[in-house]
Amino acid sequence: MRHIISVLLENEAGALSRVAGLFSARGFNIESLTVAATNDETLSRMTIVSVGDDGIIEQIVKQLEKLIDVVKVTDLTATEHIERELLLVKVDVNPNTQADIDRQIDQFSAKIVDVSEDTYLIELAGQSKKINDFLDALDASKILEVSRTGVTGVCQRREG
């Protein structure tokens, strides 16, 4: 099952490689990983999407907690949470396809953030499923470049 694991860790050099190294050394799977500083500049928040049965996810959480730099680990999937991912996609646009692309942008409430003579750069934020659906809806042969941030998420309760 897919799990979103949120990790609060010391904002130290090498913290990211400790986490990435742990996943590769123990054969855990990473679907996506995002990391950035928080409002407290000494702390970073890392959001990892991984797939595994309950035993594997339990090990992932425990092994992450064991890392000295890690302050807190939360399996967001186990709680009420909001997840978001940002997509930037560059598509080929010509008079024949423009109407269809515009319609999809409208339907998904996506946003055109840059336009050139024959391309659109489109931005879309939402759950990963929505982004997958949007990409599916676009004509695959017209997609020039895709960049996704990976999932970030927050627990909805006051105390995450």
Binding site: L9, E10, A13, G14, S17, R18, G21, A25, G55, E58, Q59, K62, Q63, E65, K66, I68, D69, V70, V71
Partner: protein, 577 residues
Amino acid sequence: MKLNGAKILVQSLKNEGVDHIFGYPGGAVLHIYDALDAQDDIKHILVRHEQGATHAADGYARTSGKPGVVLVTSGPGITNAVTGIATAHMDSIPMVVISGQVPSALIGNDAFQEVDAVGITRSCVKHNFLIKDINQISSTIKKAFHIASTGRPGPVLIDIPKDVTITQIDEPAYVDTIDMRSYQPIVDGNPEQITKAAELILSSKQPIIYAGGGCVIGNADQELREFTRQLSFPITQTLMGLGAYPAKDNLFVGMLGMHGTYEANMAMHDSDCVIAVGARFDDRITANLSKFCPTAKIIHIDIDPSSIGKNVAVDVPIVGEVKSVLKDLIQALKGKKTADISSWWSQINEWRSVDSLAYQTKEGVIKPQSVIEALYEVTEGKAIVTSDVGQHQMWAAQYYHFDEPRRWINSGGLGTMGFGLPAAMGAKLAEPNLDVACVTGEGSIQMMLQELSTMLQYNTPVKIINLNNGYLGMVRQWQEFFYEKRYAMSYMDALPDFVKLAESYGHVGIKVEKEEDLKPALIEAFKQKDRTVFLDIMTDPSENVFPMIPSGAGHNEMLLAGRDEMASTNDEGLNLV
């Protein structure tokens, strides 16, 4: 007063009570060596290879309970140390390794003797640091010792660029306390879990206590003894746990696992309640996981939450220091009556009567088992015994009946050949008044021979018990059993004359070829209190370690000496190590 980084580093080590450093100088650590030379509180042991430094520090740590300290230079200095760091990591041994690094401005430039020490060691340390600022030296040392020696102990590496050791600042004030928000090891077990465990213990009819290295590392031997005797339950110990509970006590049913006793493994298999104390259900212990303890409820006490439920599903997990949890359990069980387990004991004694450690003697041949038995006799069971890795290690574990913790020093987790000799040196430095024996083989000993030179320089007299059978014995045994006796590259031709070799290093060498010479040679060796003696003992080249659970089998499928001369395995087993 202004001090340079090297002096601050040395002062910080003194503040942590360091009395020995095992190391080897080189360009990146010259300032530190200069600072070490200017003081007398810390004794530096100049090893002959950095791997030797880590194993010696490890032996020192296992014997004394204090963190072992290592100092090496950048590049090959630290890469040579990696095997010893990984060895300590697998066995949860407290160790602090300081490695020099090229000057900050050169990091990343492929400078002379530059490696990414923090990157290389990341997966085999408990934690590591790169000190970029002289102001962080004292606090980093404090953190390193704290992390290495608390919670589940382990090695911590500190990489320090050369320029940081020469710049100067005002001497930092010593801060005695430390609080890390991200590192708060749990000490006491959850009271509800302890109550649940106590209930399960009291209702069990076929219980067994399975105690591991955590009882030694966690200094919980007294609590383990009290707990076991309070219940009169059978107790088995892992390779790493030996000595925490006295081997000669009647409640002890021997070591468990691949080369454990028949009674220990059969009892594990048939148990209805396994009480795991500071053990981690390692594959040498569990054998085939799908056949492991099919009818048992499992209580698992461990300091490391990630050890619990990793290999085996647990019914009552208790996270905490084994010492503290055992104390609470003893309290919770006080005055309570256990179920009648007399028929369980009768069953265990029946298994015991199989005498699974019996072995056949042969005229004119020295049996390796008899060497360990003679060693036990001559040292009255009181020596510290280190070992290398292979058959001799198993025989030492089986036939030297350890009655005290921190007397059996071996690389159980990583299985590092070459560990025994430098570890013996470290053990002797930690306990100069105890006899130290290094049980080894002609394969293992050749991996760290150069430390014989260090042992002369620092006068650390140990007795080397070389079980010389001309083969990489454990490899040979597996080839005999599982590869139709195709002994691929397991025979060592062209061995050195170990007697002359020992003599050339300034030690005493004795060759033993006849059984009647064995005991007199051992007596002679231990009589020479202040000399390192190399006993090169020619043992039976065809002897195998029994009993044995072959790969892929369960605890109740042991092979016994005399009964099963040949083992076999299946495809699944062949894929296991």
